[in-house]
Subunit: 412 residues, 2 copies
Amino acid sequence: MTTPSAGPNRVADSGREHRRAVSVEEHTELVASLLAPLRIRPADSVAVGDALGRVAASDVCAPVDLPLFRNSQMDGYAVLASDLARVPASLRVIGTVAAGPSDRIHLEAGTAVKIMTGAPMPENADAVAPIENTTYDGGVVTVTVARRAGEYVREQGSDITTGTVMVQAGEIIEPRHIAVLAAVGLSHVQVLSRPKVAVITTGAELVAAGSPLRPGQIYDSNGVALAAHLRANGADVVAVHRSSDDADEFRRILSDAVAAAELVITSGGVSMGDFEVVKDVLAPMGGHFGSVRMQPGGPQGTATIDGVPILDFPGNPVSTVVSFIVFARNAVREAAGLDAIESRSVPLAHSITSIAGKRQLLRGKLGDDGVAAIAGPGSHLVAAMAWADVLIDIPEDTTELDAGTEIQVIPL
Amino acid sequence: MTTPSAGPNRVADSGREHRRAVSVEEHTELVASLLAPLRIRPADSVAVGDALGRVAASDVCAPVDLPLFRNSQMDGYAVLASDLARVPASLRVIGTVAAGPSDRIHLEAGTAVKIMTGAPMPENADAVAPIENTTYDGGVVTVTVARRAGEYVREQGSDITTGTVMVQAGEIIEPRHIAVLAAVGLSHVQVLSRPKVAVITTGAELVAAGSPLRPGQIYDSNGVALAAHLRANGADVVAVHRSSDDADEFRRILSDAVAAAELVITSGGVSMGDFEVVKDVLAPMGGHFGSVRMQPGGPQGTATIDGVPILDFPGNPVSTVVSFIVFARNAVREAAGLDAIESRSVPLAHSITSIAGKRQLLRGKLGDDGVAAIAGPGSHLVAAMAWADVLIDIPEDTTELDAGTEIQVIPL
């Protein structure tokens, strides 16, 4: 506890601040323009086996044909179809060819070569008699079923030809893609690099999970929560730091974060209190701090240091996550090459009242009747956030909505 | 190339084999019973920050209330609502309380305490006057708007009370859950352990991706493909090995795999050729090798060594993946605590003919008209597998299906 020092208007001293409350759209545009450079980023080369879930940076073309060579579809005997014009036909067996490296063998009329599935077809052979339709005795095979030319033969390139696009630029690589990339012998694939993001939570009251609490302290949930949301949306979280309200400590941590990351997200220290470390440090460096006409998540800041964008969210746990979802999630997804998550329209399950002049983002749960709010507007309702499917997005100018009204919801 | 050695019936010498072709349902049941013990497995304790995408092993209850203590929802002044019965009201400011550890302070009538968002409410205070509705001068704050008792105060436990279930057993942990787990101060959470699976591909013809090929050799795609499918379905792939057709080499690799894994999947070496290393090694040890009435994926084997189930899939790349999807995917998902992926019914976009007596699993793509087959029944069509959304599941006894017929498809 200290005595009041400067009074409520101290923060207005910084000439850099704009205190006009902006709309959600205006702030979203500002964040999008700050994060736009993240979209142009170098590709990573990753082992095909590690590419699951990554986004192809460019079209991936087959460097070879598949099958690589003409081969047998069955265990049996490679033959000339013309030798089976009359069955049963007895053919002299001149060798065996298994799958694997082997010398080429040339088939003459009246002979057969025992062949395993996947083994290269002997030259001149044009069909395979499956082993089920043969009997073997003393170097001679008797084939009981006639075959057309080409039957049970897999022609070179019949699956895929050299140059065919196997995975398109922008596709998310799934197990089925990995199978074909490996089959054509690619060891590595070019994927979009994940945007590197550092998270800094601030607040003298924050304590790491698992530690004992003193009176007035709370657990720091914003770091792990933001990291989880970032990872789930394609980011590479390079650091999660916690700073006290000490400006020098915050500056040190911020400097490390800017050096390591392409985007820094902070939580806390942006509103109208006496100890707003994020605002106090960044506003004199050109950061913009102000209010967005929304609840929760009103106080917001942005800055750029050494070309690295910094998004400054308020510190209440729900405000932090709502800020990420409303302002940053789609920009991070686009940088990662993932599709944006769009709002959609659903009916309200019950009537809702809201505050004029503030866009409300209520936690909602989808049901058969539409979407129901599961908590009020309080920015501290973490549990409700955990149980919600969507944010119910109530426009600024709306104060009353009847049950059944179509309303925009943002999927969580 | 070698001369034919034993002829086609050699493999029938093993008394352990059952050569009767079984139905897909029968083999699915056999695999499910072999893998059933995987469902009863110990939980892992993981850091909350690493729990994204894991499955909660048990209900996770809040060990504390949230908010942990009664605190302010706004930056402003903690007051007695009764002091604001008439506004403007001037109150003597007796201190400041910020978020963070602090001594308790007791509010008397006629006084106010400057308070920051999240800071503990002074004893006896019952409302917060937001800073926007105040002016401060010489140790006295003038409040211009009346407040009800409780206004802008977050009561202890108003978000979550001790003992409340935050995440239910079996739920997949998402970012929104991580936020609440961290907020209540949990450092670790109990999650279902991922089934440990080893993969062994066999075949003298196989070469690692990126290596030069000799005639008759092909790239080994089954290892990375199976690993990717396994990971995507909740497994922990502990090893991916490649064996030649040499029985001693395969035995050595298998022994390592059994020691490290809870499930071993092999590809290749199970059909009717002369060199079927998986069958040759495992049939004498009690393995069952036979044929399933399906295409692709007909030859199948199962075995158990030291209590570890072994699934033996055929080696053609499409057969391998189709075998995994039809027989193993849901069993692995259940062991991992994930929901099974169920078939669903869609109309056929065109007519299809099929072979009587074999269940066909064609690669299909979903479109506006229903599902269209994008390749024939060939087991080597890896590219078609990469482009497919579903497997079209054509029953054994069906030979012709008209466009528009409802057909079961298995999502890929």
